[in-house]
């Protein structure tokens, strides 16, 4: 059997690429969270810039559109004083002949130091990392249904800010787990940090096969699954899921799995509600919950910048 090397770590065990939470040691996750903590302060200052990555070139390569994620990576890079270029590489243009690897080779020739990659196919950032020049770092900004590691990190960062001790928490992830890279990253982050019970809640059509093997408890009833939880993560349900046989309608989905104040009352009184955004109000979440006192959805967005700054700074070796 060939060795299946962990591409993310270099020979010293330091982070070289951020491709997935799965396989990341706890010490690295904690270091990212601690570093992000120091950047939260910077983001609250009037002058929100530090010179850690001055002279570094970061390319955001988005093979799949995402204005929000791309923007947070751009802001994070700029606050670290990096030169940042964002490219929306439409799938059609790559289909015209230039392959992903051609694109990467061209950008490497422009002396890129880091690629932030979003792609609709699971594993695309691995392909890029395998072919990148040795000094170039790759950050996965979401690949297909696989992982969205910076989202998973900002989720656990948010949870840590409100809940402190991971080893006493019960966390529920609700909705379209099947198509969700956010769910996969969050599950791995939580289990690595020692959360004793991670639940996934959804109809069987939206739960991946053998998902229990990732160390989660499976619930098909929202009411059952929410009982006594400390944290609820609602997943986005995309409209195209309604067209096939996965679900009958948005309103039926909401009646079963939509988070309303009544359903949230089944969780612990101090439970917090996360959502990776963008939200579909009235589909997976009621506005009264989204805008309510238990919602930490907007702080997640704020912390997302600190997390992305921390990841970039650590990868570039700017923090010790």
């Amino acid at each position: 059997m060939l060795s299946k090397k962990n591409l993310q770590l270099n020979d010293n065990g330091d982070l070289h690429h951020l491709l997935a939470i799965e396989g990341l040691p706890k010490r690295i996750i904690e270091r990212i969270l601690d570093t992000a903590e120091s950047f939260v302060g910077i983001n609250e200052r009037e002058v929100k810039v530090v010179p850690l990555l001055r002279g570094k070139s970061i390319f955001n390569i988005f093979f799949e559109n995402s204005t929000r994620t791309r923007t947070t990576f751009e802001i994070a890079a700029k606050r670290l004083s990096a030169d940042v270029v964002s490219l929306d590489v439409q799938r059609s243009s790559t289909n015209k002949g230039e392959t992903i690897l051609d694109t990467i080779a061209n950008l490497t020739a422009m002396h890129a130091d880091m690629f932030v990659v979003r792609h609709s196919e699971s594993g695309a950032p691995y392909l890029i990392a395998q072919h990148a020049a040795p000094h170039v770092h790759v950050v996965n900004a979401g690949d297909g249904r696989h992982e969205h590691p910076t989202q998973g990190l900002l989720d656990v960062f948010t949870i840590r800010r409100y809940k402190k001790d991971f080893t006493r928490l019960t966390v529920a992830i609700v909705g379209d787990v099947l198509h969700s890279r956010v769910a996969r990253s969050q599950i791995h982050a939580l289990t690595t940090l020692g959360v004793p019970e991670v639940r996934v809640i959804g109809p069987r059509t939206l739960l991946p096969a053998d998902i229990e093997r990732l160390g989660v408890r499976v619930f098909t009833s929202l009411e059952e699954g929410l009982k006594g939880v400390d944290v609820v993560t609602m997943l986005r349900l995309q409209n195209e899921r309604m067209t096939g046989a996965l679900l009958p309608s948005a309103s039926e989905y909401f009646s079963r799995y939509g988070l309303t104040p009544q359903k949230l009352a089944l969780a612990k009184p101090d439970a917090i509600v996360l959502h990776p955004g963008p939200m579909n109000r009235g589909v997976e979440i009621d506005s009264a919950v989204a805008d309510g006192s238990q919602s930490v959805i907007l702080p997640q967005v704020t912390y997302g910048i600190a997390i992305r700054m921390a990841v970039m700074a650590i990868l570039a070796g700017a923090t010790r």
């Binding site: 059997m1 060939l2 299946k4 090397k5 591409l7 799965e22 392959t99 992903i100 690897l101 792609h119 196919e121 699971s122 594993g123 695309a124 691995y126 392909l127 072919h131 690949d143 297909g144 249904r145 696989h146 992982e147 890279r181 996969r184 991946p208 096969a209 053998d210 998902i211 093997r213 990732l214």
Partner: protein, 420 residues
């Protein structure tokens, strides 16, 4: 040309002959085993001391495109393969007699392998209208297949089998329900769920195979099941054989060695069709080969250009190159499964030929001289540079495998000889 192969251990799975003997070849046939014919004068002597002299390999699953025939025939010879059955999904597909003639004539011009085409069962493999099976059979097609294109309409499938049964043509089908397979790229299970890859459930194979076997029973057609991949599939074939259905089956050698976990970090060389499944499935496939439920082991040779594999897993073309590793991987399988060399070689020679209705894979006086001489104790490293195939897409790159082919003889002609 008169060839004498000296001092090799001759193994013929068909007759269970296994002894050190000299083999004498003349005018394309084996003329003597043991003592030379009277007045023998060799044109060529092959020293097979320490080697095994086996029938040339019969590979029931080879995908060739027109432009790559030269390299792929060279790959076959280097791998000890002397007979190959070609899938009809060439470009254009083999649904007209003229195209079959052209392919066979081109292959014959190399004098180094017997190429047996499968014709398209339906026009353009579209699964709608029957192809001209009788005309295609006259042109040399040995059976009829759909490659990886399904016949969605079960009525069409029934008619195709009835019509083929009328003339005793065999029908070769890879069982996969197109709706259940949907856009899947990996076995539906823990690995696909972790990697976020769309899954192909085992039920996609089980349901299609159940349909195929029932229609084969009803029509009495000779059905060859291509590339079984699930434990349940092996069970269905075993039961159908016991129930008197005229069914034979093959498995890709990759599936006897690899499982979905081997995909690792999205290695596209492990994207295969059918997908690699679980260790439970692999063990059942191995048991199916050992008890004879599965008649043949095939390479499922699918060479792909580098850029068809240098893509994210789900976008990469499925398939692996395999002609040059079939023998070595079969030897390795025999070793780990404690299967005798005679039995293991039978699955890539005599039993495979029988399943396809070919007169091949047999060492005997007066038989066609298709032979493979290999050193079972020698090992070689699988590298891209070492492969003659245009496809370098092997899941076994970097493996050290047993069995090195020293010479391949096809119809008495030296198709391949390793440099001394």
């Amino acid at each position: 040309m008169k060839i004498a192969i000296r001092k090799g251990r001759v193994i013929d799975p068909a007759s269970k002959f296994d002894a050190v003997a000299d083999v004498f070849v003349a005018a394309g046939k084996i003329v003597a085993i043991g003592e030379p014919p009277s007045d023998w004068a060799s044109k060529k002597e092959i020293n097979a001391d320490g080697c095994i002299v086996a029938p040339g390999l019969v590979d029931l699953a080879v995908h060739v495109k027109r432009g790559t025939l030269t390299t792929e025939i060279a790959a076959a010879s280097a791998g000890g393969v002397t007979s190959m059955v070609c899938s009809p999904d060439t470009d254009p597909v083999l649904d007209e007699p003229g195209l079959v003639d052209m392919l066979r004539l081109r292959a014959q011009s190399f004098h180094s392998t017997h190429l047996y085409p499968l014709g398209a069962l339906t026009k353009a493999l579209a699964g709608v209208q029957l192809a001209e099976l009788s005309k295609l059979a006259l042109a040399g097609c040995i059976g009829f297949a759909q490659a990886d294109r399904p016949i969605v309409d079960t009525q069409v499938l029934l008619r195709a089998m009835q019509y083929a049964a009328t003339f005793d043509f065999s029908v070769w089908l890879q069982p996969e329900d197109v709706h259940l397979a949907n856009n899947g790229v990996a076995h539906e299970g823990e690995v696909a769920s972790r990697l976020g890859l769309a899954g192909i459930p085992s039920s996609a194979e089980i349901i299609a195979l159940s349909t195929h076997l029932e229609l084969a029973r009803v029509t009495g057609v000779r059905l060859h099941v291509c590339r079984v991949s699930t434990a349940e599939g092996v069970g269905l074939i075993r039961a159908a054989k016991l129930g008197g259905v005229k069914v034979t089956a093959d498995v890709a050698i990759n599936h006897l060695h690899l499982i979905d976990l081997d995909i690792g970090h999205f290695d596209s060389n492990y994207r295969l069709s059918p997908p690699l499944r679980t260790s439970r499935d692999r063990d059942a496939l191995r048991a199916g080969v050992i008890d004879g439920t599965i008649d043949a082991i095939v390479s499922d040779h699918t060479p792909r250009p580098e850029d068809a594999k240098q893509l994210p897993f789900g976008e990469a073309a499925p398939g692996a190159t395999g002609l040059e590793t079939l023998l070595s991987l079969t030897l390795r399988f025999a070793e780990s499964a404690k299967l005798s060399l005679t039995e293991a070689l039978g699955r890539i020679t005599h039993h495979a030929a029988n399943a396809a209705g070919l007169r091949a894979g047999h060492i005997a006086v007066d038989a066609v001289a298709d032979l493979c001489v290999f050193d079972p104790g020698a090992y070689r490293l699988i590298t891209k540079a070492g492969l003659k195939s245009a496809g370098k897409n092997s899941p076994f790159l970097g493996y050290e495998l047993p069995g090195v082919v020293r010479a391949t003889i096809t119809a008495g002609h030296i198709a391949f000889e390793a440099a001394a």
